[in-house]
């Protein structure tokens, strides 16, 4: 039972990780906690249904189209909504994303209805056996994607010019501007990146948690907790935090009781922040100076 609980927890944690990564990317470059991140993915999932079911497109073409649409959505949100208030305080930015969250909820409900829908492509139901514990192929894909996206973004931020520029922007926006880094373009790129990740997340998560305007609400909350757990600036921290939360929830649910399962993530974050306010990977420490 222990092995199965851990593996199933890792599977659920991978869902949180995919969202946590996007939360971190947006926050570190724009100081914005993007509460609409989950809804970018939700829109992607609905578009996936349209492309696969209504238009009869191929799965891989669908992924490309959904990711492209979500990138455009990210660009649109930055250009139309976030850029005019870019210099506002964090609370204004945060509150604005709540507004975007409700707008996207409303748009999805208007176009596709409120009912929960099945995603037309489901993974092969035959589970995969790993050392006596089983995992669904869908979850295995998600774990793989979470690790792959995390690795690609890690490489992007550490080894590419644009990535380093983004990091410079995070560390000191004014100095970055003085050094000739195109701040507006980098911010636009960040929101596009958030859309890029959301596109993948929407398509990958939809067959597992089904599609509805509210499909990402719980995942976003846990993804956000995972991002804070990891230190809010660290992609690796967010992934580790998400996987730890997924496993801890399952172990608490399995060995203490199902009634404590959903509270586990919040207990973990309270305890961690009490002893390590900078989160698991302490990049935020520089703020203490």
């Amino acid at each position: 039972m222990l092995g199965q609980q851990i593996l199933s927890g890792l599977a659920t944690g991978s869902l949180y990780a995919l969202t946590a990564i996007a939360v971190v990317v947006v926050f570190r470059n724009t100081r914005t906690i993007n509460l609409a991140q989950g809804d970018f993915a939700m829109i992607g999932a609905f578009l996936g249904i349209v492309f696969l079911k209504d238009w009869g497109l191929n799965y891989y073409v669908t992924i490309l189209l959904v990711v492209a649409c979500c990138i455009v959505l990210g660009f649109g949100v930055e250009r139309i909504i976030m850029r005019p208030i870019a210099n506002s305080d964090w609370l204004t930015l945060f509150t604005t994303t709540i507004g975007i969250y409700y707008i996207l909820h409303g748009v999805a409900g208007l176009f596709w209805g409120r009912d929960t829908k099945a995603f037309p492509l489901t993974f092969d139901p035959t589970p995969v056996d790993i050392l006596g514990a089983v995992i669904s192929q869908g979850h295995l894909y998600n774990m793989g994607w979470a690790l792959a996206i995390g690795a690609v973004l890690y490489a992007f931020f550490n080894f590419t010019k644009q990535g380093v520029a983004m990091r410079a922007l995070t560390d000191d926006p004014e100095a970055a501007y003085m050094m000739g880094i195109p701040v507006r373009f980098i911010v636009l790129l960040t929101w596009g990146l958030a859309g890029f990740i959301a596109g993948f997340v929407g398509i990958l998560i939809a067959p597992i948690i089904y599609v509805s305007p509210e499909m990402m609400d719980e995942v976003l909350v846990k993804g956000y907790v995972a991002a804070v757990f990891g230190g809010l600036y660290s992609i690796q921290g967010a992934v580790i935090g998400a996987l730890l939360i997924g496993v801890a929830e399952n172990l608490a649910g399995g060995y203490i009781g199902s009634h404590v399962k959903t509270a586990t993530a919040f207990v973990m974050i309270v305890v961690l922040l009490a002893f390590r306010p900078q989160g698991l990977i302490g990049i935020q420490k520089r703020r203490e100076i």
Partner: protein, 394 residues
């Protein structure tokens, strides 16, 4: 001065007419006008359990049909539905507005155990008829009030019947229970526990889930490890689909009976037909496949007003409450339309067979005499559809 005296006399005359006329004006209850009746309903139009909004759509389709055919005794039915997202705090505000601002005549076919639990005392205190609420929580069904007309038997009774089903159909001595962590699930648990000794059944795992929970894997793993010979699933359609997916993933071939509020074509649609094959569901209505004219009429009405809907039992919940209310209103064809008279008229419905419920007989007093549906039956999901199933005692 003369003018003032005349004016005073005129005012007095107007006041006298007003006073004399008052009984005639005040004869009808709140929400009643010469050409309409305002009734209200809270529904999970959005949110995690929005699939239950089918109930509201069923009731709304019926009232639209009634209005298109001239209304009831010359009055159109104004059916006001408001979204509470299945959040009791919202329901409280909504119902307060229904009663105090909108002056709804009655609350008809609303949905939800937790939302109804949050407002039922207030509704009763305000003497507002609550007709056909979609709830099986014990509190909502046993409240000693003439104003409450529950739709179906309590989850407590259903829990008792499901233990019997597990014993007599599956031959199980050890059962596991998956339940929603709210009044509906807890009422099922209470009912289950009340008859374990009678049937020689032991609960070896009892796992709860939150309606918004992303997955139920830890619960299902634990249930499988418990050695249960059967599962009673007190699950709504979406969590039920997650349970059946997880059960299939673990290769756990255990017989399952699901409570009636989880019987929906959404379950095989979301989980895949193979994962739900052979699962038994409790039910309280005839299926939409039934040739009964009442069911076929409901089906065509739903198709007309909500063409995008895939008809299922939850639509019928709405039809049932709405049809019973309409029938009572029809019988009040002369005299004042008051809430007290509505209750008396409902209590006079005896062996009425023209609704989606095979036979409606409402007694006097309160629950259980006030139940609109009194009997529970079963179906099994086989080969892509729900088939009627009769357990040994039926």
């Amino acid at each position: 001065m003369k003018f003032g005296r005349r004016a005073l006399m005129s005012l007095a005359a107007v006041a006298a007419i007003g006073v004399l006329g008052a009984p005639a004006q005040a004869a009808d209850g709140p929400g009643i006008s010469d050409d309409s009746v305002l009734i209200c309903s809270y529904q999970p139009m959005t949110g995690k359990v929005s699939s239950y909004f089918r109930m509201g759509k069923g009731a709304d389709a019926w009232f639209k049909h009634v209005n298109e055919n001239g209304g009831v005794n010359g009055r159109m039915i104004d059916y006001k539905m408001v979204d509470d997202k299945y959040e009791p705090a919202r329901t409280k505000n909504i119902v307060k507005r229904f009663v105090e601002r909108d002056e709804c005549f009655a609350i008809v076919a609303p949905l939800g155990s937790a939302p109804t639990s949050a407002v039922i005392e207030y509704i009763v205190d305000q003497s507002v008829p609550l007709i056909g609420a979609g709830t099986g929580a014990e509190k909502n069904l046993t409240i000693a009030s003439q104003w409450v007309f529950p739709l179906y038997p309590s989850y407590y009774t259903e829990g008792q019947q499901l233990v019997r089903f597990a014993k007599e159909v599956f031959g199980a001595a050890k059962v596991a229970v998956l339940y929603q962590n709210d009044p509906s699930g807890k009422t099922h648990i209470a009912g289950i526990e009340s008859v374990l000794g009678d049937h020689g059944v032991e609960v070896v795992a009892q796992e709860g889930y939150e309606p918004k929970e992303v997955d139920v894997s830890s619960q299902v793993i634990k249930m499988k490890e418990s050695g249960a010979q059967a599962v009673i699933c007190s699950c709504a359609p979406e969590p039920a689909a997650k349970f059946y997916t997880e059960r299939a993933k673990l290769g756990w071939d255990v017989p399952v009976v699901n409570v009636f509020f989880g019987k929906s074509p959404k379950v095989p649609e979301l989980a895949g037909e193979a994962a739900v094959e052979g699962v038994y569901f409790a039910t309280i209505f005839r299926d939409f496949d039934s040739p009964a004219p009442q069911i076929q009429e409901a089906k065509s009405i739903l198709a007309k007003y909500y063409p995008e809907e895939q008809p299922d039992a939850i639509h019928l919940w709405g039809f049932a409450g709405a049809q019973v209310f309409t029938e009572a209103l029809r019988r009040m064809d002369s005299g004042a339309i008051t809430r007290e008279r509505l209750v008396e008229t409902l209590e006079g419905i005896d062996n009425w067979t023209e609704s989606v419920v095979p036979n409606v007989t409402i007694g006097e007093g309160n629950a259980p005499e006030h139940f609109i549906v009194k009997d529970m039956s079963f179906v099994v999901y086989k080969g892509g559809k729900f088939e009627e199933f009769s357990p040994p005692w039926m």
